[in-house]
């Protein structure tokens, strides 16, 4: 009897959920569906975006996406405004948001600029400029190793070096320690803003308007923030009353956040090398390496009040540093502006989550945040980051 009541109330709930959807579908069908003349004003303008251009043996390969409001056919390809026979895979018909690969056989010259053009069925031509043609990097064993080494130099080693500040921090007085903890907040604040800024910049330059770059970054960052917050709280709860586990959990959160951030750095380096911008790649490597020692410091700081646990410290250094290698691989081998924006936005959300965690911890320890050493720490952290970032 009780069971039946429960079941019927469930059915009622289900119906009450579905009915509004059905009504909405009916309304949309009536307003927009076939035969409707209510919304027939204006001209629909198709749009495609050439997201990536690769140069391989005797061929130029363009990745194209339909970023317009209607399906299109790609019908013609050109290089420097000269028509060439080409192939499009899997096929020339692109639904909204669908992408395809256009292969244009062409004997290109290294170091020269090229414009790749695609024409759709209504005769509109879309173009992507490539400043410098460079052979696209294939995932061979040598290249995979090369990127892994670069990732190690940029990510792992500097973070490990930064961890060496651990003994120094652990000997500090309470207020000085607070200062350094706040300093990591400053460092992270800077990194979070820079990740978000970078994501917005890439989306503005390389993504079609249809993706709403800024909102994409905001959405992904906030979702990432909430998700890590959820995971973090679970982590802290599991750590339980143990006095020791709290700081370790925070350090782990920091390491994860920094890891996501370093993934972004790896992406930038990999992409710069692939795009043939060797000078930029070198600057990025040196700059990020210097910059990332501060990240080791950020991980060490919350753990400095606990016993020295070398194993855990090293593990966290790896969590923070290794993603740089993955980033370099992704950036080097499967770069797409969309994935870069998404990864950077996840990183930004993660970093802001870490900031909140540290601030909450300081507040729990101290009872208030508007302490002069805390404020000074945040300010100095940001300044250090800004100055070291000038090297990049």
């Amino acid at each position: 009897m009780l069971m039946e009541v429960k079941r019927s109330s469930r059915t009622k709930t289900a119906v009450s959920v579905i009915v509004p959807f059905v009504l909405l579908a009916v309304m949309i069908g009536y307003v927009f569906g076939p035969g409707s003349e209510l919304i027939s004003f204006g001209v629909v303008i198709p749009e495609i975006s050439i997201e990536k251009v690769e140069f391989v043996d005797s061929e130029i390969i363009a990745t194209v996406r339909n970023t317009g409001p209607i399906a299109v056919n790609i019908v013609m390809a050109d290089i420097n405004d000269r028509i060439y026979p080409a192939a499009i895979e899997p096929d020339k018909h692109l639904e909204r948001f669908e992408s395809a690969i256009v292969r244009i056989p062409f004997e290109w010259n290294e170091g020269e600029p090229y414009a790749v053009g695609l024409t759709i069925d209504d005769g509109t031509r879309f173009e992507k400029q490539v400043d410098v043609a460079a052979p696209s990097i294939q995932p061979t064993v040598e290249m995979i190793t090369y990127f892994a080494i670069i990732g190690t130099y940029v990510g792992i080693i500097p973070v490990m070096i930064g961890l060496l500040w651990f003994p120094f921090i652990s000997k500090l007085s309470r207020s000085k320690y607070k200062f350094f903890l706040a300093l990591t907040v400053g460092l992270l604040l800077f990194l979070g803003i820079s990740a978000a800024e970078e994501a917005i910049e890439i989306s503005a330059e390389n993504l079609s308007d249809v993706f709403n770059g800024v909102l994409l970054v905001a959405t992904v960052s906030i979702v990432s923030f909430l998700a890590l917050n959820y995971v973090g709280e679970k982590l802290m709860k599991r750590a339980g009353a143990s006095k020791l586990a709290g700081p370790v959990a925070i350090a782990l959160m920091i390491a994860i956040g920094i890891g996501l951030h370093n993934f972004g750095e790896g992406l930038a380096i990999g992409a710069a090398i692939v795009l043939g911008e060797a000078a930029l790649g070198a600057f990025l490597i040196v700059g990020f390496a210097l910059h990332n020692t501060t990240e080791g410091f950020a991980i060490a700081a919350p753990m400095a009040r606990t016993k020295l646990m070398i194993g855990r410290l090293v593990a966290m250094g790896m969590i923070a540093g290794v993603p740089a290698i993955f980033g370099a691989w992704v950036g080097g081998f499967v770069y797409s502006p969309l994935s870069a924006v998404i990864f950077l936005a996840i990183g930004a959300g993660a970093i802001f989550q870490v900031i909140v965690t540290i601030m909450r911890w300081i507040q729990n320890e101290e009872g208030k945040l508007s302490n002069s050493s805390v404020l000074a720490g945040i300010a100095v952290g940001m300044i250090i980051m800004y100055v070291t970032s000038l090297l990049v």
Partner: protein, 352 residues
């Protein structure tokens, strides 16, 4: 058992990962064709693909406007004789501006047409004939016909605007001077009306006929299909690369006469280059004495002339714009020269 909150989080995670994956991952080749397609590059390499080929090659079955037919088609009008012995040639020309034509494989463009085609029919008369053109404008915009040549001011197609949806006008004038002339709509903006295709060729033959020849008309034209002020496609007789893939067949040691009219807008000049032989060039066709013996002639907008040449050797010979931008955007073709003593030689097929 998971709590409902946890379930919801899992659902959100799966949905968002799926969506991100769809956007980020490169296109999956799930619709790959069983039979790979093949195409030939400009340098002769053969490339295979599992997808679709993007190559402006028309087959004769697909083409809406047949450049091969247009090439040698002359409209002499309905002929009658006036009391004083003058030959009267009457033509009916209907303008339209709503036709969508596939001007290159897969590219659809709104052409404005005289008698449903771009270029319009080649109107041909002999010097001194009375030409009478019954013009109807079935378009949605105003149009006219403006002939280059001698005629009274009111027959010039400038101030006598012919209204849309059935407006009519009769142009009447004595054909002259001898030569090859364009006709086109002269309603402003003229660039737009010409750009969409409202033009054609008007040939005035001398009373003493020119030497017997294999005659053809080539209108050099271009289309700005995305309206950015630059032509996207160029051609001789509208369809890019058409004669490249369907060469014009001619015979050795036979006089070839080509009436060339440059109707390309937006670009100030165009040119014509012939391979394997040189031609006598008659600017505007008004003089019986050629001005040049050459293989390269430059045409400014609406400039035209007559080319006369013969081939000694058989084989394939290119003709194209020596402005390589134009030739690599469609304005290039081939003559296929057959041995006139062996008229049944096999027809050349592209790619063989």
């Amino acid at each position: 058992m998971l709590s409902s909150g946890q379930k919801m989080i899992i659902v959100i995670a799966v949905v968002s990962l799926g969506f991100v994956g769809y956007l980020v991952l490169p296109a999956m080749d799930i619709t790959a064709q069983e039979q790979p397609e093949v195409f030939v590059t400009h340098s002769g390499a053969v490339v295979q693909t599992t997808g679709d080929v993007l190559d402006p090659v028309y087959t004769i079955q697909e083409v809406e406007f047949d450049p091969q037919k247009y090439l040698r088609e002359f409209d002499y009008g309905e002929v009658s004789q006036l009391e004083d012995g003058t030959i009267l040639r009457e033509f009916t020309i209907i303008a339209e501006d709503d036709k969508i034509m596939e001007i290159a494989p897969g590219i659809f463009y709104n052409v404005w047409t005289f008698n449903g085609q771009v270029p319009g029919p080649t109107i041909r008369a002999t010097e001194g004939d009375l030409v009478r053109i019954h013009f109807t404008n079935n378009g949605s915009k105003e149009h006219t016909m403006h002939f280059h040549g001698n005629h009274p001011a009111e027959m010039d197609g400038i101030f006598e605007i012919v209204g849309s949806n059935g407006g009519q006008f009769t142009y009447e004038f004595i054909a002259g001077p001898v030569g090859v002339h364009p006709y086109h709509c002269h309603v402003m903006p003229v660039e737009e009306h010409i750009g969409h295709g409202l033009y054609g060729v008007f040939i005035v033959d001398p009373k003493d006929a020119r030497q017997q020849a294999d005659e053809m008309v080539m209108v050099l034209n271009g289309f700005d299909t995305d309206f950015d002020g630059e032509n996207n496609l160029y051609a001789a007789n509208t369809i890019p690369y058409y004669y490249q893939h369907h060469p014009i067949q001619i015979n050795t040691n036979e006089l070839i006469r080509v009436y060339v009219v440059n109707m390309v807008g937006l670009d100030p000049i165009n040119n014509f280059h012939l391979h394997g032989t040189l031609y006598e060039y008659y600017p505007t066709g008004t003089d019986m004495v050629p001005s040049q013996f050459t293989d390269m002639t430059t045409f400014s907008q609406s400039e035209r002339g007559i080319l006369e040449f013969e081939y000694e050797y058989t084989g394939r010979y290119m003709f194209h714009a020596h402005l390589t931008e134009f030739s690599e955007k469609g304005w290039s073709g081939l003559f296929y020269v057959k041995d006139s003593s062996q008229p049944n030689m096999e027809v050349y097929a592209y790619g063989s």
